[in-house]
């Protein structure tokens, strides 16, 4: 009998590292595409309304940068799907029925919408009417945003598996409600928050590039007006992202309380919880959450975490130990202790094997239905059946804790940048804006670190831990492709930055 508890851990780590590398690299392109899509739409709308050649050339310049980024990012996400089939075969098989629909829709929408409207946007100047061209520019952005929606639906399902039932006959999670999958609260929150974060990044990019021209005293009118559009767009996006951030935190508290506890380094929870601004957590070591109640040197805002997580200043927020030991939720339902979840997980695993054995031996309908019911009843805890100790279900706290603060701190920094760029533009603010371009990428990636490190060890929340989802491959095979990707991605990124910088140096044709 195969024992997955003895799976080569190095393989799991390398497969995770490779997936992270690919996703991080892919995400270098996506947010700028989504952010610039709106900026170029705004610029072209100004051209449409004023008929001014200035706005036309301004729109064309930002479209050119959009085009470079779009071309470099094309198909980088498809590698993630290859990795599913090779490195994560058990996971891939289990979720195939759920993932098939959103990923297929994404592929079709991306291909038809983007290939049609991107072509009109780039080839259609002076060939189609102004109105049709403007519509194509906005639809290019809408197509890219809708593509993101379906990918985020797939990601959200892993964080909050709804609209499905496990079928022991096919050994698959099968979709029971497309609407529940596509419109789950986690998917809606994730989509809004992610797209808004991409808009902020796009705004920082526009403000940064415009500031560079102002520092160089080139294309001053173009840069001043682009900077204003970028800063206003950034401020509006930042205001919206604060609202969506609050709602995301609320949803995480309801669906993935362990993630929130790790983000906050909340070892022992309770009512009236403060939000930690900073604390002395060793970045290289998992803190002792079993023996201590809170991290040292904690500086916090009173009641803010309770408000963030429950919309109530005095609300109860469980800590890591509470989640492991079990607690009563606000609605009166009981969150089971880990020991009981492990029991139920093992019950589900056993029932699955019994079902398959009974089916092979030609057992009666009644026996099969009983076993199927037993599997499905315990399926929400299936993954816990592979857990041996408490530490396995606690994410790595330092990464969650610091990445969350980088994300929120970066967001605040960009608000300051947009305000300064609008009201007190000075040479030092221009430098600040240029420096914020790479920072915005770090902040954006930090958001994903929170989301993905925070849900560890689950590939599917509570149902499938990483070490069970992975294929039985040798780690050397994955290591090889990891370094191949590293070389490929670094080369492509260098080429992109080079083309982008050359195009920016050339400037708009004004």
């Amino acid at each position: 009998m195969i024992n997955l508890l003895n799976t080569d851990l190095a393989m799991v780590d390398w497969a995770r590292a490779q997936f992270a590398l690919t996703a991080i690299y892919h995400w270098l392109f996506v947010p700028l595409t989504l952010g610039l899509a709106v900026v170029m739409g705004i610029m072209e709308t100004l051209y449409y309304r004023t008929g001014s050649e200035f706005w036309k050339q301004t729109a064309k310049f930002w479209q050119r940068l959009f085009g470079i980024n779009f071309a470099m990012g094309v198909a980088t996400g498809i590698i993630l799907e290859f990795e599913f089939g090779t490195n994560w075969s058990n996971y891939s098989y289990l979720v195939g029925d759920i993932f098939g629909a959103p990923l297929a829709i994404e592929g079709i929408v991306a291909f038809f919408m983007e290939s049609t409207f991107v072509a009109v946007m780039f080839f259609g100047w002076n060939k189609v009417s102004k109105g049709f061209h403007l519509a194509s520019t906005w639809l290019t952005g809408l197509g890219a945003t809708l593509s993101a929606w379906w990918i985020l639906v797939a990601n959200s399902w892993m964080q909050h598996p709804v609209g499905q039932a496990f079928n022991p006959e096919t050994v698959r999670n099968e979709m029971t409600s497309f609407a529940e999958v596509a419109l789950s609260p986690v998917a809606v929150d994730k989509f809004i928050h992610t797209v808004l974060s991409a808009w902020v990044l796009g705004a920082v990019f526009v403000v940064g590039v415009s500031s560079w021209y102002l520092l160089k005293r080139r294309h001053t009118e173009f840069a001043t007006k682009s900077l204003r559009v970028g800063a206003i767009f950034g401020l509006v996006s930042s205001a919206l992202i604060m609202l969506s951030g609050h709602h995301s935190a609320y949803t995480v508290a309801q669906t993935q309380p362990m993630k929130l506890a790790a983000m906050e380094a909340l070892y022992k929870g309770g009512n009236d919880q403060p939000l930690t601004i900073i604390a002395g957590i060793n970045p290289f070591e998992q803190p002792d959450y079993e023996a201590t109640d809170e991290p040292p040197l904690k500086l916090a805002v009173p009641y803010a975490l309770s408000f963030l997580a429950t919309n109530d200043m005095n609300g109860y927020v469980p800590g890591i130990r509470d989640i492991l030991d079990g607690y009563t939720k606000a609605d009166g339902t009981i969150e089971l202790p880990l020991s009981e979840k492990i029991e139920r997980g093992r019950c589900a695993i056993n029932a699955l094997q019994e079902y398959r054995k009974a089916k092979a031996e030609g057992a009666g309908e009644e026996t099969l239905n009983e076993l199927k019911e037993k599997v499905q009843e315990n399926m929400p805890f299936f993954g816990y059946g592979y857990v041996k100790d408490r530490a396995q279900v606690v994410p790595y706290i330092p990464v969650c804790f610091y990445a969350f603060r980088v994300m929120v701190g970066g967001g605040c920094l960009f608000i300051l940048l947009f305000l300064l760029s609008l009201w007190k533009p000075k040479p030092w603010t221009y430098w600040f804006a240029v420096l914020c371009i790479p920072v915005s990428y770090i902040v954006s990636e930090a958001g994903w670190l929170v989301a993905e490190f925070g849900r560890q060890p689950w590939t599917i929340q509570d149902m499938l831990p990483t070490w069970v989802g992975v294929s039985e491959l040798g780690s050397s095979a994955v290591m090889l492709t990891f370094f191949l990707f590293l070389i490929l991605f670094t080369t492509l990124l260098t080429v992109e930055i080079n083309i982008m910088c050359k195009t920016i140096k050339k400037g708009p044709k004004l």
């Binding site: 009998m1 195969i2 024992n3 997955l4 508890l5 050119r64 085009g67 470079i68 071309a71 470099m72 094309v74 198909a75 980088t76 498809i78 590698i79 290859f82 990795e83 089939g85 090779t86 490195n87 075969s89 058990n90 891939s92 098989y93 289990l94 072509a119 780039f122 080839f123 259609g124 060939k127 006959e169 096919t170 050994v171 698959r172 997980g345 093992r346 695993i349 056993n350 699955l352 094997q353 398959r356 059946g385 592979y386 069970v468 294929s471 039985e472 491959l473 095979a477 090889l480 492709t481 191949l484 490929l488 492509l492 080429v495 083309i499 195009t503």
Partner: protein
């Protein structure tokens, strides 16, 4: 027919007049070649298709989900 001809001409003229676009298309094509003809073919086989008997995939995955001491 006229519409199809106009669409074809639209794309034809667009591709012919590209400047920076030529470089970008070259990069896209090289990238797609590397991804589909090299990475997918030589490094990313479908693990289950390669290891499971056709039609027995569910059994194969079910075996993988067993543990010694649940």
């Amino acid at each position: 027919m006229n519409v199809i001809h106009r669409i074809w001409k639209f794309y034809y003229d667009g591709f012919r007049s590209m400047t920076l676009g030529r470089t970008l298309w070259t990069i896209i094509l090289v990238k797609l070649f590397i991804i589909f003809a090299v990475l997918k073919v030589f490094f990313f086989p479908n693990y289950i298709k390669e290891h499971a008997t056709e039609g027995q995939e569910a059994e194969f995955v079910s075996e993988k989900l067993k543990v010694d001491n649940p």
